[in-house]
Amino acid sequence: MIKFDRLKPVLLAAGLAMLGLGATSAAYAQATPKRGGTAVVGVSVAGATLNTQLTSNVTPLIIADLWASGLYKYDKTGAKKPQIASSWDISADGKTYTFHLRPNLKWSDGHAFSSEDVAFTLNAFAKYNTYLVKIVPNVDRTETPDANTFVVHLKEPQSSALEGFDKEVFPLMPKHIYDGTDIPTNPANRAPVGLGPYKFVKWEEGRGITFERNPNYWDQPKPYLDSVVAVFIPNVQQQQNALYRGEIDVLRPALPQIGRTIEQGKLKNAFETREVKVNAAERLSLDVNTTRDIFNKPLVRQALLVAIDRERISKDVYQGLAFPAMNAIPEQFTQLTDPSVDYNKQFAYDPVKAGKMLDEAGYPLKDGKRFTMDFTSATNADAFYAEPAAQIISANWRAIGIDVKLSLLEGQLWSDKVFKNHNYDVSMSSLTARTDPVFGVDRSFLCNPSTVPFVNPTGYCNKELDEIAAKAGSVPTAERKGWYKKYEEIVARDMPHLTLTNAKKFFSISTRFGGIDEELDLAFNGNPDMAQVWVK
């Protein structure tokens, strides 16, 4: 007879196994997506157009995830994931990109989709698209050998060109809607027809935009939700309130609100706030007007960086949700940035050293003062960082004897002062690096004779750096890092644009949804992919 004591471990193991099986089944049942329900996404106001070929405003970018698709997107590891293109090949010489498109697709209005639409998007929209204008001069021609193949021939190899075809930069546009029309003012820019998971229904001005499931979506059975509503809430505090009360399900909270948002989420158990691990960097930066006396000396510009307590900005302004930037190429571009250039070592916070550097540059203290500086920044409603960061930086500089005259201006006034009139010494802004240095980093460093806003206003122009940037954007991917190292070194030496901090990103989503773990749409805005979200 077998004693019960001997059986105990066996029974226990069997019991645990059964429990485990039960738990797995429960988890499986819970993880099975089902159709139905509505999600409400909180956004700021949308502006003039939803077409992200024509705008880079945040709200249209978030909303574009609903109605538009691209050739590919990024997954949560930052790798490219096919969307409308099921695969793509790059020729050995790096000059020909062939995209193999999914067959038998339809636009949200039921019209058939083909490679003609892709070619049309590139040929007709490129001149209006901030990022594509960087690729187009290098495009020799496009071809559509059949309905499911799209070929781009480049004049010269350009490895970064592929980044220009992700869904964020290159949302696909319907030829039958736009062909022969005035594209920038086509009504479809406010009532879009796309290949995305949801179909545009109506735009109620000042209130929001309603989308419903696109029955023609290419990735069936997605999307799972019946509808998604984007509600306009311009006030940041009201966005938080609406989230706390459950009036909205999805929100990208402002960084200073993250701590409270996480706390409220735990308290109410109604929503959770997650960090988006992989994203395009958002970096607090300073442009120095190198055309002006004093600031035309690289040693002065380096001293300005050494004098700034970037740890304190990360801790106090961003509440610990940012970190001091390493160099000109953001840390998020793990394959491209070279850590051998590290501002945290080379230009670590040291006011005494900064003072000595200014002495050496020919600006010693006289009556407690070295020189006067016109320091400016924009203070838009969403620029929460502007005032506190500017105050910390001003205090740091005043501590080494710089007489800082700080002016915090409304966005458009600041833009005119800095980019149009070049009437400033140092200007602060927070810039996104987008998906590749070619799109978001080069603009701060390359020669720019124009007065176009948000392009290098410093007057710094170094042909050597321009050539290196061109190389870094065109050589095969494996070789890019080497060129970006040279890029970083030149910037660290000349320092026309001081990169201070690199901020993290978060999003909040209601706990009533499933599917948010599977994948995030991380190309730029860091919101959950609403095609995969379903009501638990």
């Binding site: 409400v40 003012t185 009504p187 000042g206 009036e247 802004s429 948000f454």
Partner: protein, 325 residues
């Protein structure tokens, strides 16, 4: 009376034209770029700028645009919005009733409650009650609108969960008939309450001062000596005479009240004329901004006419004087 009102209207038209020209010129002087606002904080491609400037005639000389705009206004056309891509008149027709609803209810409650508090505060025999009312009114008057709004949201929406935090109603709703009205009403409660607090404090202060002054008039002493009851004196003589200056002030402060609505709409994400104005300034959408200014100016003119009529109705001396002229 009719001649007086007609004269006022004629003056108002001239004033309106001057206001339009001044605002249009000021907007031209303010730095800013509507095209940049459309595209965001990134460089605007030259082709996109050229296309949009051509479409919205921003490539035309300023004077040409101003003359064209004034000509359009005379034909009843308030222009076209660069942001909303619709005629300005259509946008205003959609947004103004919402603001009117919010401001109208708040204004109505504010005046009624404010008058009641003002009278009670002035006629009460208890000094403590008068001081309590005065203190409360002063505290209410000193509190910024946006702060009161946020406080109410935190109390009634976040803590108690009774009322929505913002907006004018759910985007997708199955409610119909009375349910729909009630659903919408819940969204109005907090903005109206905030507005009412603002207006009540403003009116109560004027009313108290006016009643106190009236109480010292000779005809009140006469009424007392004639043996009229306290109630008869207050209702028949004090209120009627005290309310005149308050009505004048309320009429002229209607513009300020509209300004209050702008702030309120921003706090509560309420899609009326106020939030339209704020957004249009941000987008540098000139024709919408001027359209809103014209609308507010017109409503102030209308309000002044209403005040004149009310004045004549309440005070026979004005009626008779107007008839003699």
């Amino acid at each position: 009376m009719v001649r007086h009102i007609a004269g006022q209207l004629a003056q108002a038209v001239l004033l309106l034209i001057a206001v339009v020209i001044i605002i249009y010129c000021l907007l031209q002087l303010i730095p800013g770029d509507p095209i940049q606002a459309m595209v965001g904080d990134v460089p605007v491609p030259a082709a996109l700028r050229a296309a949009l400037e051509k479409r919205f005639q921003l490539d035309q000389p300023f004077l040409t645009r101003l003359i064209g705009y004034l000509g359009n206004i005379l034909h009843g056309d308030l222009g076209y919005s660069m942001t909303y891509r619709r005629p300005v008149l259509d946008i205003l027709a959609e947004r103004f009733p919402r603001t009117l609803l919010l401001a109208g209810i708040g204004y109505g409650f504010g005046i009624t409650i404010g008058i009641a508090i003002g009278i009670h505060s002035a006629v009460t025999k208890h000094r403590g009650v008068d001081q309590a009312w005065s203190s409360l009114v002063l505290i209410g008057y000193a509190m910024p609108t946006f702060w009161v709004g946020q406080l109410l949201v935190m109390a009634f929406s976040i803590q108690l969960g009774w009322l929505p935090t913002q907006g004018m109603g759910p985007m997708i709703s199955r409610a119909q008939g009375l349910d729909w009205i009630l659903e919408r009403a819940t969204y109005l409660v907090l903005p109206v309450l905030t507005y009412t607090i603002l207006e009540t404090t403003r009116v109560a202060r004027f009313m108290r001062a006016s009643v106190s002054e009236t109480l010292e008039q000779g005809y009140i002493v006469t009424a007392r000596q004639k043996g009229l009851s306290r109630r008869e004196i207050i209702m028949g003589h004090v209120v009627r005479n005290s309310i005149l200056p308050v009505i004048t002030v309320m009429g002229y402060s209607f513009g300020t009240a509209m300004g209050g609505a702008v702030l309120l709409e921003t706090v509560f994400s309420y899609p009326g004329v106020g939030s339209l104005m704020v957004e249009s300034v941000r987008q540098r959408d000139t024709q919408v901004i001027v359209g809103v200014v014209i609308l507010v100016a017109c409503s102030v003119v209308v309000m002044n006419v209403v005040v004149d009529l009310l004045y004549a109705w309440l005070d026979p001396r004005i009626r008779i004087a107007s008839a003699r002229r």
